[in-house]
Symmetry: C2
Subunit: 172 residues, 2 copies
């Protein structure tokens, strides 16, 4: 997972993988099938991580809070030095289907928390905007941006939701 994450699919060779895993090629093929299957398992493991941005979207009770939770998680994770920079899914050309699905998941989540005051924000467009931000932030982190730089951009992006006071839930 780490190797695919930092180099991408094409630039990660079986040789790199066997050296890193400490096993020989036939063992790798016996265990995983082929390179694509190993990659699929790595991606599945990545997406199942509790640190994933998608799972962060489950928090929050308003559209703004959902986006904030996702952006905060992205800022935290994409700039972390504990693992490769950026996002595996949002950086890898082979993972178009995953990005599209994540976008759909976000749109569904946004519809769940939609309030009358924010209904003017189309959930699909808002989810696409969030996905665009995440891909862009991942690239920005890969290009060397630190956590503070990511934070400022994410903060600015939240302006599309208006000020927090405007969208705060009004309990009757």
């Amino acid at each position: 997972m780490r190797l695919f994450w930092e180099r991408g699919y094409e630039l990660t060779s079986i040789n790199d993988l066997t050296r890193e895993l400490g096993i020989s090629a036939p063992s790798l093929y016996a265990a995983f099938g082929d390179k694509q299957a190993l990659f699929d398992e790595a991606v599945a493991r990545y997406e199942a991580s509790p640190q994933s941005v998608t799972t962060a979207g489950k928090a929050g009770t308003s559209q703004r809070e959902v986006l904030r939770a996702m952006f905060d998680r992205a800022v935290q994770e994409y700039a972390s030095t504990a693992h490769p920079r950026g996002c595996l899914v949002n950086s890898e050309p082979k993972l178009e289907a995953n990005r599209t699905q994540n976008c759909a998941i976000t749109a569904a989540r946004l519809r769940e928390v939609a309030e009358s005051a924010e209904m003017n924000n189309d959930a699909d467009t808002l989810a696409a905007f969030a996905q665009v931000m995440l891909v862009g932030l991942s690239s920005y982190a890969r290009d060397g941006a630190n956590k503070e730089q990511l934070q400022r951009v994410a903060e600015l992006a939240l302006c599309v939701m208006g000020s927090p006071q405007q969208t705060e839930k009004i309990v009757p």
Copy 2:
């Protein structure tokens, strides 16, 4: 340029290039040096194109108009079917330096048109936000988004600048 644009550097082989150009490998090497040099020339040609997003940023007399011009151009170009989807520079991992430089160019342009009413928007952060949006939009287009989808996201992104009336230039 077209091949690098649609497949990226690593996935474009000399064989692909010679077949497309209709010349043989030795001629290609005599003309361009090596693969990297040919790639550099292709990127230079791409960036010098009058359709480039960077040149679009030269228009506009306010920070908002500069961003709008860039986003409009991105929407127009990234979803065009006249050439590969998305952006060569913003999709290619090898071109980190180009992205960083484009970000600096945008920041400088934003400072030029800065007005007292918008000085609260830090030009560097705003340029980084624009760059993040462009990378994200490029990925979105590559993943299959059409012009209308890009347009809606770009429109939403402009909300960070407030409504047009607020930032419109006030002639004394």
